[in-house]
Amino acid sequence: MHNLLLNPYRHRASLIHRLPAPVKLLGATVCVLATVLLPRSAWPAHAGIGAGLLVVALLSSVPPWHLGRRLLLAEPFAVGIALLALLQDNGLQVFLAMLAKSTLCLFCIILLNSTTRFTDLLRVFRRLRVPALLVVTLALMHRYLFVLFEETGRLLRARRSRTFTTGRRHAWRLTATVAAQLFVRTSERAERVYAAMCARGWKP
């Protein structure tokens, strides 16, 4: 998960990478909408969208194994829900259609994500007049994700190095303590970030 976040292919310079972020976001949205709104039986159209996405994937020069692995990681959730559809009349058709639609959309979003930096998307959100408070929340979250991941890793290591008992019950308490410690540190950091924002003239 952590490695996925630090997606190394987001900084390449292919044709797709160089497209402006608003264009890519719009393209992805249109593609997802089209896929979702297509009638379930329109197989050729589904295939067409799939072919289009494959072309984009080739142009983006993101390694296919990377896209494939991410798709596999995201797929189980979709399959889980689609399986439920099997339990009804003409369930197989619904199941296949759902699977096709969700896979196409997943592929589309993974492509968007592999070629666009989240910071650029944030700029688009800002321009689309998403409320400032929400954009600030998103930006701060994205900024501190990595910092908090590293902090979690350090806390876990420190705990483990001083833990000599095993057992599930113990493991739960220990992990919960780490989560609590993480929250305490996060709220202290939030105070310091607030001070830093004020120091540079921030007014809410």
Partner: protein, 327 residues
């Protein structure tokens, strides 16, 4: 519970999107009105915290492990509106960075997990806490019970949206989603309570709703969330309420005739929990199953709260901020 793209039809996506926008609007309004500028960075960092905390594994059995969902935890620590914004940010990032949850289903996912879960959870938490009394133990009990209820309600709404879209029949979606999540919710309750107990021990003043913090919500705010959740239930769940009787029987029949489907792990686990043998008609068994589930959650919450509080409620009385150091 993240609905992917392609599972909701246009009317459901738009309707739940509208409800989500309304919910975020309430949250933005009350955070702004509270003029708690101090809390703005905290909301953003709490969203990152949820994300990081979701990476922590809690071993369950046979090599599998569960993780925190976090809605009720942030609601207890930040108050409902802060939690709505933090969870919204989590879902947006999950959608756009991890392809976890669809773009067209973002509204529905935000409504279920970022508005209903913390909203319902907080109302129950505040209600139970006040009813039981002002102590750490009652707070932990309230946390556990609220965590369970909020997770289950969110999953029922998720089932309603799938059924409303005509993707998965209610008779299948409801028992499957609610059944699985009644179990998952127990895990969520235990983890959330453990974390809240640990925070209360380390820094008791961090818990929201203690008398002096600005996070204490106003009743109008809670009422607004309550109305919104009710609206969601009326739109997505009420139309199917009449379909319960023959529904469960139908599933049972189908399961009987379809051994292949019955063997899928998704359904095999929850259904035996959910339909209680000896009840012919499905309505009473649904009610009984729901009642038993709630009772189990209640007992688990009580046992947890008792186990996690020292005899004398000393942790709650320590002076605020006494231990924190500043240079």
């Amino acid at each position: 519970m993240h609905i992917p793209d392609g599972f909701l039809d246009a009317k459901t996506a738009v309707a739940s999107g509208g409800l989500a926008v309304a919910g975020i609007g309430i949250a933005l309004h009350s955070v702004r009105r509270a003029a708690a500028a101090r809390r703005v960075p905290l909301i953003g960092l709490a969203a990152a915290f949820v994300f990081a905390a979701q990476m922590l594994n809690f071993p369950v059995a046979g090599g599998t492990s569960g993780h925190l969902i976090g809605a009720i935890l942030v609601a207890v620590l930040l108050g409902p509106s802060g939690a709505v914004l933090a969870m919204t940010a989590v879902l947006v990032v999950q959608c756009f960075m991890f392809a976890d949850g669809g773009v067209t289903a973002l509204g529905a996912n935000i409504f279920n997990m970022a508005i209903v879960a913390p909203g319902v959870g907080y109302v129950i938490y505040a209600g139970v806490w006040r009813a039981v009394g002002d102590s750490l133990r009652s707070r932990l009990f309230a946390t556990a019970f609220a965590a369970w209820c909020s997770t289950v309600v969110a999953s029922i709404l998720c089932a309603g949206q799938l059924a409303f879209s005509g993707t998965v029949a209610w008779q299948v979606a409801f028992p499957a989603m609610a059944g699985i999540h009644m179990v998952i919710a127990l895990g969520e309750a235990v983890i959330s309570t453990l974390v809240v107990a640990a925070v209360a021990k380390a820094r008791p003043e961090l818990l929201a709703l203690s008398r002096e913090t600005p996070a204490r919500p106003r009743y109008t705010e809670l009422t607004a969330y309550g109305l919104l959740v009710s609206l969601g239930l009326v739109v997505f769940v009420a139309p199917f309420a009449s379909g319960w009787p023959d529904g469960l029987e139908k599933v049972a029949v189908m399961l009987g005739f379809e051994p292949k489907a019955a063997a899928t792990p998704l359904l095999a686990a929850p259904l035996p929990n959910y339909t209680i043998p000896g009840f012919g008609s499905a309505i009473p068994s649904t009610i009984v199953a729901g009642g038993v589930g709630t009772l189990v959650a209640f007992v688990v919450a009580y046992v947890l709260a008792r186990a996690l509080t020292p005899r004398v409620d000393a942790a709650n009385r320590r002076g605020p901020g006494g231990a924190s150091s500043r240079a």
